[in-house]
Amino acid sequence: MNAVSAGGITVTGAPAARLSPLARRAGLKTGERRVGWLFMTPALIAFAAVILAPFLSALGLAFTRYDLQTPNPVFIGLANFAQIAASPEIRESFVVTFVFVSLATVFTIVLALAWALILNQPFRGRAALRTATIIPWVLPSTVSAFIWAWIFNSRYGLLNAAMLEMGLIDQPVAWLSTSAGAMTAIVIAKVWISIPVTMTFFLAGLQSLDREQIDAARVDGAGDFAVLKDHVLPHLRPVLLVVVVLAVIGNLQQFDKIYALTGGGPVRATTVLSIEVYRRAFDSWDIGMASAVGLLWVATIIPPAYLYLRHLLKTV
């Protein structure tokens, strides 16, 4: 008995002479796969040129000495990593990054969810308010950073002027010159910018919430908190997971707003890993060390990125 395959379908008992000469041996799926690869090629080339090649280059440079005194990279093994382990300044950058990412992520999630719940209620002017909410996200991030820098400025700042006017302080406060003040400022600026897009995720999730289920819960005597805890949050769980992971990744990658607002200071109070890499690379011109710190920085981004990708692949 003959068995032939064409287009992924196996036909048994068919005479061999009836097989079309155009039929491909590998089948339709393989053909589709080839076309798929063809379509992906431009993106893969761009990825290789813009992301993979620089990453591999940085990976290699992390094991070299490459600074002003050494114009060409010299292999030094793990010396840069040993120096990182021994450097209290770089270790401090990991702590600062952890604090910033934690605060910015938590406040963004909580406030964006609260705002989404408000904007999900029917009220007059809701559409206008929803539109206005997007403004911080639309603004270029450095513009936002400079707005906040002006607000917090010790001499001309809006915050000091308002607080002086209200009698809350009797002389201007240099907010950005204390560690806590500078950290608070960059967290506020980042949260302000992140709320719109995070809120949009939540709002989209809330749109699909079954109103009848909520009404039934209310009839059963559930209060606001019970509705939130037992119905809204479980419904938003998949959205919440994605939003938390994306927020963590985004906050780990944060650079421009922090650099424009505090430059990583005062001293090193807001020197997160991205700023540390920049300072090593473009202030001290120690490219080898910057690459080594950058590699560790990427390592911190991999776990949330893995979680996000796994979630995406599961849901596709």
Binding site: L68, Q69, S154, R155, A174, L176, S177, T178, G265, V267
Partner: protein
Amino acid sequence: MANMNRRQFGGAAAAGAASLAAGPAFAQGSSISFISYTYAEEPNKPVFQKVMDDFKAASGVTVEPIASAWGETQKNIMLRQRSRTLMDSAQLQDRWVPSMATLPEIVDIGGLIPESDLEAALAPSVLSLGRVGEKRIGVPFVSGSVGFVANTDVLKKAGVDKIPVTMDEFRSALVAVRDKVPNSVPFAMATKNPSSIPLDVLLLVWIFNGRIIDDSGKVVINSPEGRAAMSFMASAMKDKLIAPELDRPDSRRLFAQGSAAFYIDAPQARGFIRSFSGLGEKADAFTLPMKSPVLKQGDPPRSVEWGHVVALFKSQKPIDKGGPQDKWVRYLISDATQTTFPLQIGGLPVTKSARAAPAVQNDPFLKAWAEATGVTMKHEIGVWSNAPELSTILSEETQAALLGQKTPDAAVAAIQTRMEASMAKRG
């Protein structure tokens, strides 16, 4: 192009091909690129544009300026070097020269202009600007020193009728300004930017008769003098005699607007103050170059050597004697430039002939600046090739002391330890 016939088009194409075949110099015409921070400063931009225009009229060479903020210029040069897109020439701050000298593309200008020619033309005090060892990396075209400037209007308001001579008098004047001039920063010392802080710290350490790094490369800041200087700065911050979050441009604005009595700057301060005050030349009436305060009577006033130099890079264009780059360097130190340009931006000319010119001799501000200079020393950090890292260390630890995160002694000890490690790594 629309009216070009086939023959004309063919001719033009052939000419284009020939020019490309002849090499970049012909294809790109007689022009050179030049990165400049003076050109990026709004008050000085037209002044520098005129220099370039006059140069073009005199030589036929076009200078294509690349404006770059002072604080970004080193980064721009380094990034272009790494991406192999270096410009042909650059304006450098004199203290950047040792770091830049490590670039393989930097040109030893001694091959174009013999040192003997420079010795004949330039004032002896500026000859060391731009030199690294035996190499002539940069040719100075504006000189001066970094020292103290006093705002006499603010001092009058505070009831201070005498420019302070000693540090005790200086502190008393600061207290008077703080108490009698509302919302002022008595001494607008740079406290924010790692590029600006070291200069002010350096000057204060010298005033207290200390050093940061000695001539042999030994870090020596952890001394009674170094600790005393840091204690002065920390106590000044605590007593609101200096303020956080100030960079040099902020200091200039505060001073120009009558909100600061003293700050540290180069002689180009005059140009900034004229511009930022909105008063033009009238601002000269309250802008007084002063001798740095001294620890005790009889100590010499201090200032830091300062200047702008022009450097050349091996780019795509050949560098020949008599070529565009050579002409550009020579033009910047010619009488045509030196008798006008440095004065207009508030600096001193570098050539002997220009310094002898009546316009320079009779300029009251420059005369006062020269009299106030005292002992001028090289920037102790800038002379080392690891200067960027040393500057970061000095800035971070000074900020830590100023903001009360570390005691002055602990900050000085940390500077010592971290700088020693940096110098050891430098080898």
